[in-house]
């Protein structure tokens, strides 16, 4: 098993497979950062995104691009609706973290039941076939799916980086995540930032479930399992660090992939929970090396974000 070709193969498929984990993790970590919300409702959004695509492409026979676009619109719309009619209400009431948790989890379950009622529980894939053409590069099998997964994920991450770095709305989002009250004083609408982060997350979720659903079967129960991995990666990556969380997601996927060299693969999931549990025990506030250095919100970043910018 220590043949370099095998190691490289595990590395490559591990990276390709981590693509949807990365996207789900970024979606989760972004909402956590900006909204301070452990948004388990994203599992429900995954379900909505998947079944919208599945229905439109298989039953309604829409062209692929249109079906995907419709799924993005649908998922974003539900995100915004949940934000406005539920999350905002709870926030206004100063509800406890537990209430947010219950709401978002139960929302996902509700969606799962609804989808069961509508689509049944057979595992479905977006396209009837799960095969994708393969080429052998230096002894390593590289499938089209692998390439598209890595490509889409990188494109989404770069897009997010550009959004945060170079647009005013992106900067507002950062400012709100730093200190919502202070940002509001400077005239930045927290609500606008929340909705924007929700829509960006919805995009990530659509991309992630597209990748997942073109490779493996999805049932209405699947998303709730997927969100757990996102939570774990977010925690390991250090809270408030969206890109660290993405790296952690890749790391966890690779850890699982490479663990096959030492342990039977049935223990892979346990490894994941074990890592989560011990990470929390050792670093109850996130991994310190990656922890955000600023303890106090810094007025400068907020002010900088609020200041008018010429170019954007």
């Amino acid at each position: 098993m220590t043949d370099p070709v095998i190691l490289l193969q595990i590395l490559w498929t591990g990276i390709a497979m981590s693509s949807y984990f990365v996207l789900f993790t970024v979606a989760f970590a972004l909402t956590l950062k900006v909204e301070k919300l452990w948004n388990f409702a994203q599992a429900g959004l995954m379900g909505i995104a998947f079944y919208t695509m599945f229905y439109l492409l298989n039953a309604a026979h829409w062209p692929v691009w249109l079906g995907v676009a419709a799924a993005i619109v649908m998922t974003s719309a539900v995100t915004v609706a949940v934000e406005i009619w539920a999350i905002a209400v709870l926030r206004k009431r100063h509800s406890s973290g537990l209430i947010f948790f219950i709401f978002t989890l139960i929302f996902s379950q509700f969606v799962a039941f609804l989808l069961t009622l509508m689509f049944g529980t057979e595992p479905e894939t977006i396209f009837p076939s799960v095969m994708s053409p393969v080429r052998i590069v230096g002894g390593i099998a590289v499938s089209d799916w692998d390439l598209s997964a890595v490509g889409i994920t990188l494109a989404m991450l770069i897009g997010l980086y550009l959004l945060i770095r170079y647009t005013r709305d992106g900067q507002f989002m950062l400012a709100v995540s730093d200190n919502e009250k202070l940002a509001e004083i400077y005239g930045i609408s927290a609500r606008r930032a929340y909705i924007l982060s929700g829509i960006v997350s919805a995009l990530m979720i659509c991309a992630g479930i597209w990748l997942y659903g073109t490779r493996a079967g999805v049932t209405p129960d699947v998303p709730i399992g997927l969100i757990l991995t996102a939570v774990i990666a977010t925690l390991i990556g250090g809270l408030g660090r969206v890109f660290s969380a993405a790296i952690a997601a890749v790391g966890l996927a690779l850890l699982q992939s490479f663990s096959i060299l030492f342990i039977s693969s049935k223990w892979q999931t346990l490894l994941l929970y074990g890592v989560l549990f011990f990470a929390l025990l050792l670093f109850p506030r996130g991994i310190p090396a990656w922890r955000v250095k600023r303890i106090r919100p810094s007025p400068q970043t907020v002010a900088a974000a609020a200041a008018p910018q010429g170019g954007s």
């Binding site: 452990w38 539920a86 209400v89 709870l90 009431r93 100063h94 509800s95 406890s96 973290g97 537990l98 209430i99 948790f101 219950i102 709401f103 989890l105 139960i106 929302f107 379950q109 509700f110 799962a112 039941f113 609804l114 069961t116 009622l117 709730i224 757990l228 939570v231 774990i232 925690l235 049935k266 223990w267 999931t269 346990l270 929970y273 074990g274 989560l276 549990f277 929390l280 025990l281 109850p284 506030r285």
Partner: protein
């Protein structure tokens, strides 16, 4: 009507689970969702002892409680310093990890579970005897929760839930209180687990997963979090209603998701319109 007795046993067991969980989450404000794992620990310990040693059921169930308490104290000591949302995630990791381990090792029966748990209280009145025992024990559990929460201990626990810092600054040692209620609540879950195993004679890992956490949580929230009678009402409603629905002669492909939809939407409606549950008064709990 053995069927009614059997449904009654289930209600009584869920009353124990919901009442003890409510003590931890509703009164103590400790956000864990790992309650089913202690239910599982009680059930597995009692079953494995019963199968492998042939000791009397009472001893095996007591041992189940013991192991659940020990496990809960171990978990409490390591994780209760983590607070709030982190505790929630840590408890989830503990629950899923331990279940995965149960799933992967041989002596627990793996995913097939344990199906040869000894028959106890054989005879035509078995279910009724179990109903009697479980109801009595459930009543004792509810009484104990009530008794502990009306006195000075309960007052300090509720104060801790409302504001940990202020409570500590008044001289209350929070850590000990947290460990005690956690251990007590989990011990009750272990008891329920032992009884469950002996009554139903079959346990498997999937009966103790996150769906079970959601069920118990729903009972507590629906009934009224941080109230004495809330979990009792919640357990009753959540066990009895689905049973009632099966009498409605609906096409069976609809019943499952329909039940799910009804319960999840009920919880959502309650969260927004009546966060204090069916029996709670305004501000009676941490729900707000």
């Amino acid at each position: 009507m053995d069927y009614l007795a059997s449904a009654g046993v289930l209600i009584a067991l869920y009353v124990m689970l919901a009442a003890s969980y409510n003590l931890i989450i509703g009164y103590g404000g400790l956000n864990t969702i790992a309650h089913p794992i202690f239910f599982a620990i009680g059930a597995y310990t009692a079953s494995l002892l019963g199968i492998n040693t042939g000791w009397p059921a009472v001893i095996c169930i007591l041992a189940g409680i013991g192991v659940a308490v020990v496990a809960s104290v171990a978990l409490a000591i390591t994780t209760l310093r983590i607070s709030g949302d982190y505790l929630l995630i840590a408890s989830l990791g503990f629950q899923l990890g331990l279940l995965q381990a149960v799933n992967n090792v041989e002596f627990t029966g793996g995913p097939s579970g344990l199906s040869n748990i000894p028959l106890t209280l054989a005879g035509p009145y078995r279910s009724w005897l179990y109903l009697l025992i479980c109801t009595l024990l459930a009543a004792v559990v509810v009484w104990l929760v009530w008794r502990s929460m009306v006195g000075p201990f309960g007052r300090a626990v509720r104060a801790m839930r409302d504001d940990e810092l202020a409570c500590a600054a008044l001289g209350r040692g929070l850590f000990a209180m947290k460990v005690v209620i956690f251990a007590f609540g989990c011990g009750v879950a272990g008891l329920a687990g032992g009884l469950y195993a002996y009554y139903f004679q079959y346990i498997s890992p999937e009966q103790f997963n996150v769906a079970q956490s959601a069920t118990i949580l729903t009972m507590v929230v629906l009934g009224g979090i941080g109230t004495i009678w809330g979990p009792v009402v919640g357990a009753f409603v959540l066990v009895a209603l689905p049973q009632a629905i099966t009498f409605l002669q609906l096409p069976s492909s609809l019943v499952g998701p329909l039940q799910g939809l009804i319960f999840t939407s009920l919880v959502i409606v309650f969260l927004f319109l009546r966060p204090y549950g069916l029996v709670g008064k305004r501000m009676a709990g941490a729900a707000h």
